[in-house]
Amino acid sequence: MTGHPPKKPPILELRNVGKTYQVKQGLFGKARPLTAVNDVSLSLSRGEVLGLVGESGCGKSTLAKILLGLEAPTTGQVLVDGQEIGDQDRLSLARRIQPIFQDPYSSLNPRKSIFDIVSLPLRVHGIGDRTQWEKQVREILDIVGLPARVMNTYPSQMSGGQRQRVAIARALIMKPEIVICDEPTSALDVSVQSQILNLLGELRREFGLTYLFISHDLAVVEHLASRVAVMYLGRIVEEADVAGLFDHARHPYTQALLQSVLTPEPGLGVPDTQLGMAYPNPIDPPSGCRFHPRCPLATDHCKSHAPRPIRTEQGLVECHLYDPESQMYKNEAA
């Protein structure tokens, strides 16, 4: 056996994952392909928080659904602990990976009591009996900061922040290893957002959870994530650790996102990226670099040639400016 220990295998790994929907336009229209996720490779190690950031419609939720096994990827593989998720049965996958969704008004069934909602995982998995369910629901409610008496109330009686706590309790009651947080605070009042973010941070430390934390807002990700991946039109265009990304963002899109964080009232809706043009329709993605119509640094070369992903010790970036073999390469940028 040689010196260095084997590298810790990632707990969650995406290899060239893609998802293409066939979208019908109009009654007699022919179905056209819409690539919501395009050749995404990411990996998360145990206990890490990876932030996934991008404008609305760039494919973040689609990626989340693929990770949860709710949608099958068109291409590529998703591995949890080295095992492909397509090969695992639904129940064992559900025990390892759980979601927290964006809209707590839609993620809790309005016809069910809080007890029913939070205990559903235990009941579906046939864990314990009624007294045990009650005990466990009581415990997890306490952990997420809700009094036990809410068990008999209904979602319509609660505020947005309380509801999101219920959703968190439901996700954590079976002690999963990985939690996919799909914009867990963007539907909440600004005053409540930080409470939920703090709670998620505490819970991660307490239970050693691994998060994929999705947001359209870089500012939300900053405090929680250790690494950030930036997504544009289904592709990861930059990936770096959080300090590096905030200090010297490399991709022009990341730079624009960072500027929008500094505009007043961050966290309210989709960031104003100051990019002028609207987000392109993913059914007709631009040629060459998909970002070129909005990129302040674009040249004619960008319109016809797609950049390739460049991996350095700083992370990943997909832009001609950082490709040493490209005619646009500027040494000072690297």
Binding site: K65, L68, G69, L70, R90, L91, L93, A94, R95, I97, Q98, P99, F101, Q102, D103, Y105, S106, S107, L108, N109, P110, R111, K112, I117, L120, P121, V124, H125, D142, I143, V144, G145, L146, P147, R149, V150, N152, T153, Y154, S156, Q157, M158, S159, G161, Q162, R165, A167, R170, V192, Q195, E202, E206
Partner: protein
């Protein structure tokens, strides 16, 4: 490790009423629903206890007492609503007729409800090919005029209570399918459905336990509509002689049998016509009321 902080403003009193309490309040505050429900309850009791309530045998003919007028037109209390052209007690036939109408309405709506709900929910949930097939079947069904098809089938198979129920049950599912498809599509996008799937819940469980409670209120309205529809169609078929066959006491048949004497004895037509109207009105009042009352909870 108690994280619960009672001073947390987030956790201040949860005081709103439960959905159950809100429902009760809304039911008691809805006049149309209460009126419809009372009339329906009375007619239901009359139908169930017909043998106890009817003063005479509805089939017993009496040539001595034909066409006696009701008591308010100078008749006797022995036959409060008079007798028909065969001397049968009109009130007793009316009471037994409630059974026929309610039975046809209930069973036909039940059959078509099961068919239409299964089709609509499957189409909305699975989408794709399943949806295409169901949408096609709905369009085929909508292209067939109900009355003509029912007439043709009854003419071939012969009229009887069972045939009328079966034909109506197999014809009236289209609205169930359309409404259930639309509401399933809507509810399917809610995140609690994805949450249940991510928990590992089976498809039947997701549909029956998570989605159904949120779309069933739409079902109530269609059930009442189709019940009224079936009752009126039975009356129409029986009126044309192609529905329930004599001597079964059916309100449609009573109108039909009375129509020859309509000019001289209009009450023979007006009395069964009026109770038919009353029943359909009560059902519709109830349906409208239930829709108002069970509309999904307002967001707080």
């Amino acid at each position: 490790m108690a994280h619960t902080n009672i001073n947390d403003p987030l956790l201040q009193e949860i005081t709103g009423p439960t959905p159950g309490q809100m429902l009760r309040r809304r039911i008691l505050g809805h006049q149309g629903l209460l009126i419809g429900a009372v009339v329906m309850a009375i007619l239901l009791i009359v139908a169930i206890f017909a043998p106890l309530l009817a003063p005479h045998d509805p089939y017993a003919q009496s040539l001595m007492h034909r066409m006696e007028p009701p008591v308010f037109l100078g008749g006797t209390w022995d036959h409060p609503l008079g007798t028909d052209h065969l001397g049968r007690d009109y009130l007793s036939r009316l009471i037994y007729g409630a059974r026929v109408s309610l039975m046809i309405g209930t069973i036909a709506a039940l059959i078509s409800g099961v068919i239409g709900t299964a089709m609509g929910v499957a189409a909305g949930y699975f989408g794709g090919r399943v949806d295409m097939v169901v949408t096609f079947l709905i369009n085929v069904r909508l292209a067939m005029p109900v009355v003509l098809v029912a007439l043709a089938v009854v003419a071939i198979m012969g009229g009887s209570l069972q045939v009328v129920i079966a034909v109506l049950g197999l014809l009236l599912w289209d609205r169930f399918a359309v409404v259930m498809r639309a509401s399933t599509l809507q509810v399917r996008r809610r995140e609690y459905v994805a949450a249940a799937q991510a928990i590992g819940a089976s498809t039947p469980r997701v549909i029956l336990s998570e989605m159904m409670p949120n779309i069933a209120n739409n079902l109530i309205v269609v059930v009442t509509l189709e019940m009224a529809h079936a009752i009126l169609l039975e009356a129409a078929l029986s009126f044309l002689g192609l529905g329930v066959q004599p001597p079964t006491p059916s309100w449609g048949l009573m109108v039909s049998e009375g129509k020859n004497m309509m000019l001289f004895e209009p009450w023979l037509v007006l009395i069964p016509g009026a109770v038919l109207f009353l029943l359909v009105l009560a059902i519709n009042l109830m349906g409208d009321g239930l829709r108002d009352v069970t509309a999904p909870e307002n967001r707080s």
